[in-house]
């Protein structure tokens, strides 16, 4: 356990990618000065939401120690991830932080039986001395997700449905008894009638197994349904973060407002409002290269300053907003608008 009681502590991380040729080329800042943390004694579900190309996946690679930040530091239980070099150290770390990926059919090799992965994980992490003991551990973690070893043993990935196989990949992640699960778009490939069972599973893990979950998604409706806190990402920045009820019910940042307004409501009552025209971002690279606020080109309440200098983080009540509308530059715009 770390000294400051934090499970995960992300401090001002920035990741830059060089794109283009050796000579010219430009710098793409995929993750820009992001900080957040998770407490170790309070399991919670944190959602990171945003469009594609907002830096969600880069951030998740950072948290899995797959990528070293250009600037800033990531600490897991007080340990700097950039200082993990040895294989044994990495193994110890990854035992506590387990990923669940987007497409369950791509996660598993179609020619390999699914239970082989579960046994491999159990043996590799030294959870069991032999195959027979491993079976017990595997069965236990499968029962946590509503399956059993009997149901999946000797089966190939194509013999299971999308929902089942995604539950197997959650069960696999649970074998090493992690403290944190990093789920990157875990339900976007799963059918509607099975989607909620995966989402409910994360809730259960938090409440019963005391596992924290970082849920990366662009689906705000399921995010609202399960998470405690949310961070809205835009072009490498977290533009708004705070308790999910505050942020999604009463958004402050113009981008969050646009995002929430764009979620089609599953009821045919406000069709006109949804059909109101919006301006879309031109191309990703253009917005990444923008000086000042990345949303300035699309923002309905844009001011001159937004195009010149990066907006500061403003703390309002329990949340953080990165927008000039809530600073002394605000002019006539009121925060409650």
């Amino acid at each position: 356990m770390s000294a400051n009681g934090k499970l995960l502590d992300v401090q001002h991380v920035t990741v830059e990618f060089h794109i283009g040729g050796l000579v010219g080329g430009s710098l793409l800042v995929a993750v820009n000065d992001i900080s957040f943390s998770l407490e170790s004694d309070k399991p919670e579900i944190l959602t990171l939401a945003g469009e594609s190309g907002s830096g969600k996946t880069t951030l998740s690679r950072l948290l899995l120690a797959d990528l070293v930040p250009t600037r800033g530091k990531v600490f897991f239980e007080g340990r700097d991830l950039a200082k993990i070099h040895k294989r044994s150290e990495f193994k110890e770390f990854i035992k506590k932080v387990q990923p669940v990926f987007q497409n369950p059919f791509e996660t598993f090799n179609p020619l390999r039986r699914i239970d082989a992965y579960l046994f491999d994980t159990a043996m590799n992490f030294g959870m069991a001395p032999n195959h027979r003991d491993a079976a017990q551990i595997v069965d236990e973690s499968l029962r946590n997700v509503g399956l059993s070893l009997e149901e999946v043993s000797r089966r190939y990935p194509h013999e299971l449905s999308g929902g089942q196989i995604q539950r197997v990949s959650v069960a696999r992640a649970l074998i090493s008894q992690p403290k944190l699960i990093l789920a990157d778009e875990p339900v976007s490939m799963v059918d509607a009638s099975l989607r909620m069972e995966i989402v409910n599973l994360f809730r259960k893990l938090r409440d019963e197994q005391k596992v924290s979950v970082i849920y990366i998604t662009h689906d705000l409706a399921t995010a609202y349904y399960i998470s405690d806190r949310i961070g809205i990402m835009l072009r490498g920045y977290i533009v708004e973060s705070g308790p999910v009820d505050d942020v999604l019910n009463r958004p402050f940042h113009p981008y969050t407002k646009l995002l929430i307004e764009s979620v089609p409501e599953p009821a045919p009552k406000d069709r006109e409002a949804w059909a109101r025209h919006i301006s879309l971002g031109t191309t990703e690279v253009k917005e990444y290269g923008r000086v000042g606020c990345k949303f300035a080109g699309r923002c309905p309440q844009v001011m001159d300053i937004c195009r010149q200098v990066d907006p500061p983080d403003v703390q309002i009540e329990r949340r953080m907003v990165k927008c000039y509308l809530y600073t002394e530059h605000a002019g006539q715009a009121s925060p409650e608008k």
């Binding site: 469009e51 089942q164 009638s193 099975l194 399921t222 929430i260 089609p264 059909a275 025209h277």
Partner: protein
């Protein structure tokens, strides 16, 4: 008068490997009409036959897919044709792109990565109406793109230079070049984010109201149907479970499957417990007997296990295939 009338089509995938034959009954007895000037939504889980249905309607039937029975009667003004009987040559010359066009899922794979967008436009136009005056073609293409609210620069871009949403809109622009009467859109926004999805669907809706044509919109996302479609058909395991105007589907669903689909949708601002259906979608190579939903239905009765429920008209424009619902009940 229906623009397109689908009569009892059965389309199966038939494969035979080393003497073992396998039949996947992807579309099994589907009947419905598409009316002029409407957006008709088709919803259902993956592998319920949505894409196969589109393939049959667009006359794109290739081995191992086989249309076993039924007809797809199109009524393009003076030009009437059965899509299942028409020759490939005629299909290419008179129907594809001119009367029926197809917006495919995953626009990134639709556009040729090594040709500029304008060249793709040229290829398509040239196939259907040989270009004689290049300058005029350029003007028309520019006008078409501008009319749809896309910037002119995209014509001189390569696909990789455009964002996903822009590429999908280019795919829609291509599909509407000849003002077709029917646009088949197969999951046009599935890979896109909510904001971009909204932009793309707005464009599709604008085109529809501008030229009063018909759009068949296939997506598994019920929320999209709620906001875009006029009528919605719910498919389950190759058959129609329910078909009704959008308001009825969402406010008074009758089929247990539809009811579950609507109830399980998460919404911002509401956090009541949402459950999933037990069981898994059936394997269409070996579908359940009777009503195909009976293995997962919470209200299953004995009759459901043996008999196939007919699709009955319960109200004006509202059809349901379920033994729980009787014609007399409404």
């Amino acid at each position: 008068m229906a623009l397109l009338s689908v009569q009892d089509i059965c389309a199966y995938y038939r494969t035979e490997i080393y003497g073992i034959s396998r039949t996947v009954r992807a579309v099994d007895g589907v009947t419905f009409d598409l009316l002029p000037n409407e957006i008709y939504g088709v919803a259902g889980e993956s592998s319920c036959g949505k894409t196969t249905l589109i393939k049959v309607i667009s006359g794109n039937i290739k081995h191992p897919l086989k249309a076993m029975s039924g007809s797809v009667n199109c009524n393009f003004g003076d030009y009437k044709v059965d899509m299942l009987k028409v020759s490939q040559d005629e299909l290419r010359r008179n129907i594809r792109w001119k009367e029926i066009s197809y917006v495919m899922q995953g626009s990134m794979s639709v556009l040729n990565p090594v040709r500029k967008i304008i060249k793709t436009f040229e290829d398509i136009v040239d196939t259907h109406e040989p270009i004689t005056d290049k300058k005029k073609f350029l003007e028309e293409a520019t006008a078409h793109v501008n009319r749809l609210g896309l910037p002119t620069e995209i014509l001189n871009s390569y696909p990789h230079q455009l964002s996903g949403g822009m590429r999908q809109r280019v795919a829609i622009a291509l599909a509407t070049l000849f003002q077709p009467r029917l646009i088949l859109a197969d999951e046009p926004t599935t890979a896109l984010d909510v904001v971009v999805q909204r932009g793309v669907l707005q464009m599709l809706k604008d085109i529809q109201s501008m030229s009063s044509n018909t759009v068949l919109l296939v997506t598994h996302d019920m929320a999209v149907h709620a906001n875009v479609a006029n009528r919605v058909m719910i498919m389950y395991a190759g058959r129609i479970a329910e078909e009704a105007p959008t308001e009825s589907i969402f406010n008074a669903p009758l089929h247990p499957y539809t009811q579950h689909l609507i109830r399980s949708l998460p919404m911002i601002g509401e956090r009541s417990n949402k459950a999933s259906l037990k069981g898994t979608p059936p394997n269409l190579a070996n579908p359940p007997s009777g009503c195909r939903f009976h293995t997962r239905c919470p209200y299953v009765m004995d009759v459901c296990r043996t008999d196939v429920p007919d699709l009955v008209q319960v109200k004006e424009r509202h059809r349901v295939a379920c033994f729980l619902v009787k014609e007399a009940s409404l």
